[in-house]
């Protein structure tokens, strides 16, 4: 019985060696159990033959064993599977390694020089079927055989190159790889065997003796935390020279941060480690270097750049409230729910006029540690909330200038309204007024003027619809509907006007400020390097429970304050102007994909600006031409740049300059994103050639292994024969009547002889 599977009728097999295999349908475990059972029966039966002469005993035992084997085979029905293969003449492809490790110099020439010479030799010889010619490194590209090759790729990915070759030309039967074997991707043998191609290899640099000091590994925590030390680890390797000390230097830009001397053995490694303190959010660029000795084979691996992204591990928030209230209760509940937040709260539970009717020892109250908070630790907070808080009863006027300075130096401050806030507290007459986005009314203003008590639904101020603090839906229209569906607030701290450096996001629907503008409800400004927010009400808690009771959805409160907190904490995703790069490390001249957003402070697309992208070095000098940026209607843009050809740390700079169409007083806008260019990088971290890997690859695929380019034969010598599977067939040799006849004959013969010889 023969069941043919998927045979290719159109092919013409040159040869059909027919690989085959034996299988048992029920599985080997079943067969084993049966065999044991039958063996046991045979052994037991042999005991009945003891009385017979030895010749008869041997005949009967032999028949019994043959019968048992036959029973077993008929029972398990072994199958024979035969693969039908064909061999045909495939095409030959030549892959030249052009990764940067091929630029390593040995003696007076570079590895790539030997490759170019071999390519020219092959190009000059005539062959019946010209091979396909490619170069590979970080990717595979077609290349004319004999064209000058340059070692420029910043990676070596041989397995991916083999895959790409077969994708490009399925008729390829064999590949000749000309390389130093310093493959960084790995899995080339697995790729070649699964593709079923023969790989011949020509090793380059196999006989080199390198003299090189280099940085074998350099790493920094990929993500580091603000104001916490990040660890830098450097492994230094020495090749071809006696062991000795090597100084390792760590730089922040051009500034030497630290230096260590490590003792490196001959042909061995040693490790240095550093800690750096990171005090700015975003990408931070460092570099490490070692001296370049005379005769160093790879000077490029003596310096490495390190890039890390600095994030907050915990947001430190100071929440000060002048009295317990529902607004304070809801804000604490929100802040407390975030496990990544360090929350320091101080609530004034009793004022100096309250009569607690108890000794201090019977109270759970503690002194308000004003000096500790606002003198010693103010700078450690990312965000400070003053909620319905008056400063005067706690002699805090001496600390208000410090809070102003804290904001101007980069801190974030939010003042939330209430009967003790804004003009009631007298902030108009303090230094804090300078960093608030609104003009606070004087303290002498009558309460009937300084506050309102009506119910109202705040409206998004005109032109501010896209600001992230108020665009809480997917778009301005959705957000407006959300605002309109909220429970009304009640009561407002009246302010004089929005200050010139501030912007108002939410306004009262009908009341006007003294300046005539709609009465501000929520305003912000960015004084100095900091951020300031003013929310002139103490009933936003109604966006939680009250709105929840009316609509069934109490989540708006959390959504709003989440946005407030992220904006105050400078979440990058909420910045109106930003630029990012698709990678952090590039090789010289590589393509950089830059994306970003260009919007104004209201988060509306920026109009009336000429914007360009350029690349600057660590000293701020332009090292590239300018690329004009053309944002879409939402303000988003994407542009391509070319990485510099020299190693180092660089920044993509987004520069927007106001034109005459821009509003009067518009300023230039800058946003930057650091990146690194490395000609060394991981590709040159270990410059040694690896001919052993090439030999393993050719051996595993039945290819030729050539030890040096000058030993390489003509292309016609390389076997490009490929073997293809046409299909397979399965046979059950014992699934026939003859098997049963034979079994019956064996059993019958044994039975007859046993009867004749007197055994039952």
């Amino acid at each position: 019985m023969l069941e043919s599977e998927a045979a290719d009728a159109a092919s013409t097999p040159l040869d059909a060696p027919g690989a085959w295999g034996l299988a048992v349908p029920g599985g080997s475990a079943t067969a084993m159990v049966l065999a044991l059972l039958i063996t046991a029966l045979v052994v037991l039966d042999l005991r009945t033959l003891r009385a017979l002469p030895s010749r008869r005993r041997a005949i009967l035992a032999g028949l019994r064993v043959l019968s048992a084997v036959m029973v077993l085979l008929v029972a398990v029905q072994p199958t024979v599977r035969t693969d039908h293969l064909e061999e045909d003449e495939g095409r030959l492809a030549v892959l030249f390694d052009v990764s940067r490790s091929m630029s390593v110099r040995s003696g007076t020439s570079h590895r790539i020089d030997a490759v170019n010479e071999l390519a020219r030799r092959w190009a000059g010889s005539s062959v019946e079927h010209p091979p396909a010619s490619y170069v590979f490194g970080s990717s595979l590209r077609a290349s004319g055989l004999g064209e000058p090759l340059r070692a420029s790729d910043d990676d070596t990915l041989l397995a991916a190159a083999l895959d790409s070759v077969i994708d490009a030309d399925p008729e390829i039967g064999a590949v000749v790889v000309v390389s130093d074997g310093a493959d960084r991707g790995g899995a080339a043998i697995e790729a070649a065997t699964s593709l079923g191609i023969r790989v011949h290899t020509v090793a380059v640099g196999a006989d080199e003796t390198l003299r090189d000091d280099g940085i074998a590994e350099a790493s920094i925590d990929r993500v580091a935390f603000l104001r916490r030390p990040a660890r830098v680890r450097v492994v230094v390797r020495r090749l071809g020279a006696a062991g000795g000390p090597i100084p390792v230097s760590l730089f922040d830009g051009e500034r030497l941060v630290a230096e260590q001397i490590v003792e490196v053995p001959r042909d061995g490694t040693a490790e240095a480690s550093f800690e750096v303190n990171l005090d700015r959010l975003g990408r931070a660029l460092y570099s490490v270097s070692i001296p370049t000795p005379v005769g160093d084979a790879v000077p490029e691996n003596d310096r490495r750049a390190l890039l890390t992204r600095v994030v907050r591990d915990h947001l430190r928030v100071l929440h000060v409230a002048g009295q317990p209230s529902w607004d304070q209760r809801w804000l604490r509940g929100f802040l407390e729910r975030d496990p990544t937040m360090d929350l320091i709260s101080f609530f004034i539970l009793r004022s100096t006029t309250d009569m607690v009717m108890a000794d201090a020892s019977e109270l759970a109250l503690i002194p308000f540690p004003t000096d500790e908070l606002f003198n010693e630790h103010l700078g450690s907070f990312d965000v400070v909330f003053f909620q319905n808080f008056e400063y005067a009863p706690y002699a805090m006027e001496v600390y208000l200038p410090r809070i102003r300075d804290y904001v101007q130096r980069g801190g974030s401050f939010a003042m939330i309204g209430g009967p003790l806030s804004f003009s009631a507290a007298g902030y108009a007459e303090t230094e804090l007024q300078g960093v608030l986005p609104v003009e606070v009314l004087p303290r002498t203003t009558p309460a009937s003027v300084a506050t309102t008590s009506d119910r109202f639904r705040p409206e998004v101020a005109s032109g501010m619809e896209r600001h992230p603090l108020v665009m809480l839906g997917a778009d301005p229209a959705t957000s407006a509907a959300m605002w309109a569906g909220l429970s009304p607030l009640q009561g407002l701290n009246v302010v004089g006007r929005t200050r010139s450096d501030g912007s108002t996001l939410l306004v009262h629907p009908s009341h006007r400020a003294g300046s005539g503008e709609p009465l501000p409800v929520l305003s912000f400004s960015e004084p100095g390097r900091g951020r300031s927010l003013a929310l002139m009400t103490d009933t936003t808690w109604r966006w939680g429970i009250t709105t929840g009771g009316e609509t069934g959805d109490a989540s708006f409160y959390d959504r709003f304050y989440d946005r407030v907190l992220r904006w105050l904490a400078r979440d990058e995703a909420l910045e109106p102007v930003r630029v990012t790069t698709d990678r952090e490390h590039y090789g010289p001249g590589a393509r950089i994909e830059a994306r970003g957003r260009l919007a104004d402070a209201r988060h509306a697309p920026l109009r009336g600006y000429d914007a360009t992208l350029s690349i600057i070095d660590e000293q701020g000098h332009a090292v590239s031409g300018e690329v004009v940026v053309r944002p879409n209607e939402a303000g988003d843009f994407a542009s391509a740049l070319e990485a510099p050809t020299n190693d180092g740390g660089y920044r993509v700079r987004l520069h927007a300059v106001p034109t005459t169409a821009a509003p009067v007083g518009s300023d230039e806008i800058l946003a930057e994103e650091p990146f690194v260019v490395e000609s060394g990088g991981d590709e040159l971290a270990d410059p040694r050639a690896r001919p052993d890997r090439l030999a393993e690859l050719s051996e595993a695929t039945s290819g030729m292994s050539i030890a040096a380019p000058e030993d390489a034969p003509a292309l016609s010598v390389f076997d490009a024969t490929r073997v293809r599977t046409l299909g397979s067939s399965t046979e059950h040799p014992l699934a026939s009547a003859w098997s049963l006849v034979l079994l019956v004959a064996l059993l019958g013969g044994e039975w007859i002889l046993r009867r004749r010889w007197g055994i039952r």
């Binding site: 209760r329 809801w330 407390e336 320091i344 709260s345 009569m355 009933t539 929840g548």
Partner: protein, 253 residues
């Protein structure tokens, strides 16, 4: 307990400071004030201690910086205005009618959206009809949140005053029960007739005797009520690490 001279001294200093401090701490609107809002319901007796909410509001204003509404309001669980005030004072001394579906849903949503419910069994007996009614309605509205005993080291007992146990008109059980939603107590159930200790007529006379410790127990009951309000407004603020050494020292720890 404070001694009389200390109390008088405190009073004198407070009056002096009050005379020189600016008095502009009025609320922006009624919504800003703390309202000891009573719960109206069908059947039973929703107001066994009529003057207690007003007295509690007054004590809060007198003793703490909380700005309370001196004329507390009432609401029903099926009234949309339920969600205007996140505090609900649910008291009684007799069995009451089963809540309607709307009332039961209102209670569940009030708790889920952040509201705080203080239940006060004014009957102060071991097993009252009011108690049975309360448990029936809580298990119906909040089936996934059973009442549980609240330990006396809970922050509730140090949210303003340092207390050792719950107090009321009667000494009652040595613990209160509560329902926790997330990390907060959302429902607090006292069976000590807290309102009975607070109730005071317009002439300034206490309406009910406090047993067994008389006026010292009444003071402790008032303090416990103040603590409950402080917990509702400040949550576990007094569990913050910064308070720990002070509180331990005062507790003699």
């Amino acid at each position: 307990m404070s001694s009389v001279p200390t109390t008088l001294l405190t009073l004198a200093v407070a009056v002096l400071i009050a005379a020189v401090m600016p008095q502009n701490a009025g609320a922006l609107g009624e919504a800003s004030r703390f309202d000891v809002r009573g719960l109206e319901y069908g059947g039973g007796n929703p107001h066994p201690r009529e003057s207690a909410p007003r007295r509690l509001a007054w004590e809060i204003r007198k003793r703490t910086s909380v700005d309370s509404a001196l004329e507390p309001t009432t609401t029903r669980l099926d009234d949309a205005a339920l969600f205007d005030v996140p505090f609900l004072y649910w008291t009684g001394d007799a069995a009451f009618d089963a809540f309607s579906d709307a009332e039961s849903t209102g209670l569940a949503r009030f708790v889920a959206f952040g509201g705080f419910v203080l239940i006060d069994d004014a009957s102060a007996s071991g097993s009252s009809d009011f108690d049975a009614s309360v448990r029936r309605e809580l298990s119906r509205a909040l089936p996934d949140h059973p009442l549980a005993s609240t330990p006396n080291d809970h922050v509730l007992f140090r949210s303003f005053y340092l207390l050792d146990r719950p107090e009321g008109r009667v000494r009652g059980p040595d613990h209160v029960e509560s329902i926790t939603v997330g990390e907060r107590l959302a429902v607090l159930y006292s069976r000590h007739d807290l309102g009975g200790a607070l109730a005071r007529d317009n002439l300034g006379n206490w309406e009910h005797s406090v047993v067994p410790d008389g006026e010292t127990q009444r003071e402790r009951a008032i303090r416990f009520a103040v603590n409950i309000v402080m917990y509702a407004l400040c949550l576990d603020y007094k569990d913050d690490q910064v308070h720990a050494p002070f509180i331990m020292r005062r507790r003699g720890g």
